[in-house]
Amino acid sequence: MPKTVALAGNPNSGKTTLFNALTGANHHVANWPGVTVERKEGQFRCGSDVYTVVDLPGIYSLGAFSEDELVARDYILSGEPDVVVNVIDATNVERNLYLTTQLLEMGANVVVALNMVDEAESLAMSLDAQALSKRLGVPVVPTVASKRQGIDQLMAAAVRAAADPSVKRKLDLSYGQSVDAKVTQLEKLLKDRDLVYPPRWVAVKLLEGDGQVLKMVEERLTSQDVEELRRVCEEAAAENSDLQLEIVDGRYRFIQKVTRGAVARPKKEVPTLTDRLDKVLTHRFWGLPLFAVIIFAVFQLTFVIGQDLLGGLVGEGVGLLGEYIDGLLARANASELLRSYVADGLIGGVGVVLEFIPLIVILYTLMGLLEDSGYMARAAYVMDNTMRKVGLQGKTFIPLIVAFGCNVPGVMATRTLENKKDRMTAILINPFMSCGAKLPIYLAFIAAFFPKYGALVLFSLYVLGVLVALAMGKLFGRTLFKGESSHFIMELPPYRMPTLRNVVRNMWDNVSSFLVRAGTVIFVVVSLLWVLAVLPAGVEPYGSESILGRVGAVIAPVFAPAGFGTWQASVGLFAGVAAKEAVVATLGMVYAGVEEGVELVSALQKAFTPLSAFAFLVMTLLYTPCVATLATIKKETGSAKWAFFSAGYAFAVGWLGAVLVFQLGRLFGLS
């Protein structure tokens, strides 16, 4: 009967490469009995003897957490393999030794293959195989399986170990005084029973709550013995609620002892490009200012390219299209009402939203570059300090970043927050973020009043949204949702060169969604408002006597302290609750209808002052979220109460912000 060598190791430790090097084509593949885990078996020759080699599944430990682990553990414990060659990755010795430790705990006949030593050398690591061997108490042979280096020495050691299993090492780890006492107590109860497995190993596994081992014990011991074992385990768990952690930590202490001085890495590891960039970009003090500068530069570039270079192109196109369609309708003797609907409702309303496409294309292209490079993932990281100061955690900023695209997925992204306090706060402050739908409003007013300071105004609105969100977060933390924020670490992806494909896809996703909304939601809203703007019959269309004018006039006084108490501004804001883009579309329609051929920008210049325009922007930034966001808030909180609360308090915050801007501005002599 040929002796059997089992290969055990972590995934990617080079175990299968070693198996192939040993067996060549001389192997076959089947499944382990009863499971779908692959079993590879082959033969190799050492002198005149033939040995069977079994490649066990790649595993990190010998628990009972996966089929792979159970298959490997059961096979080793079955006693079938005469020796277990534990392949460990020399570049990651400490991690791989966890499995080695468990193999030794269970009393397996182990030979260690310290594989990929060439890669470890290239990383300037120093490895002392002899010291490792002495401390582990088993042979440790350096190998490079991919180059067939050290394989003969390894197999010679394996053959020696297989020939004399009596010299195998049995590891009696210490897991700390209290745990050791319980292990000994259980070990005594298990001794001299027909268990097949080492009693100490079974004792440790019982304390770890291993269901498979408990089942085995139940099958082989009397119910009285099992009861006693259970009592000791329950007593141990009651005395130490972190029993399992103590056992795992005992293994790590052993690993640290084994590797101390035997595994050394260069003191100064060569920093990667990501490390060097992160040192600057995520710096504790200037990480946040740098983030602000980068976002400001994005806005500045958006206006330079989108407005200065491309600005007006789509606007002219929309104007020409409007004239062309109007000409067609005139030639077809279409009614005045239809011509008015097309010219003022569709072209003046929906068309005006489309005029900002070049700016939106550039903005989302630049944001896509930041996102694809891996920088945007750092935003939550650099915001952490600030967030903590207001009682929130950096992770809360992740849904807020999502909300810069759209508040709906922003609210949904709060599901990633485990803590109820963080989640409820993040939901309620989410709508203060400047979503993409608010962009056309900002851009229209910037074009009318602040063309030279576009980036600054846009940046100030984004920053104001974040500041108000933080202030409200702090307020909620002190009133509605008290409690401690959870602690976390982030997996920061490495920086990479953005790909054209990803950047264009990101931009197109946003722009196409914008276009779809213009053709659906905004189209419907504008059409409905157009009907209200021309009814009742006989009144001047788009006048203050129309239904729309009368409704607007009722609301208008509310906004008078903020400097925009006109019925047009009021219905614009009212329409914005349906969809934020509808604010601009509605203003475009009501102003285009009054004066033939008038452009929204010049109409706005007549209706607002720079101060009231900025107050209006603050209002649109902060006031009631759109219905889709409110519906999502209801769904995510499971209560309509929070959706109503969000609508009401955001309106109050927006109104207060707008009034403050206007009144303080007037106080300082601005107009």
Partner: protein
């Protein structure tokens, strides 16, 4: 090692695995291993950031949602209890 790792996550706040490894003077592989163990033992919870159940294919807002999810690890109630005790 595991308690120190958990304590570091709690007190140092927002950190990457690489920074945790540097701070504790352990190789990143061992930190990865320790984190896996802490997750398995219920002291840490991993969040891939993809918990939305709507399914992008059916979600009308999929195109506006973040495409790059940020993975995070948070202390569970058990993790908070253990670190508070030590």
């Amino acid at each position: 090692m595991l308690k120190a790792l958990l304590q570091e996550i709690r007190t140092a706040g927002c950190l990457s695995r690489a920074q945790l490894a540097a701070k504790l003077g352990e190789p990143i592989g061992l930190i990865d291993e320790g984190i896996e163990q802490l997750k398995r033992l219920g002291y840490l919870a991993e969040d891939s950031g993809e918990r939305c159940t709507a399914g992008c294919g059916r979600c009308p807002y999929a195109s506006l949602c973040s495409q790059n999810f940020v993975k995070t690890l948070s202390l569970t109630a058990e993790g908070q209890r253990l670190t508070a005790e030590h």
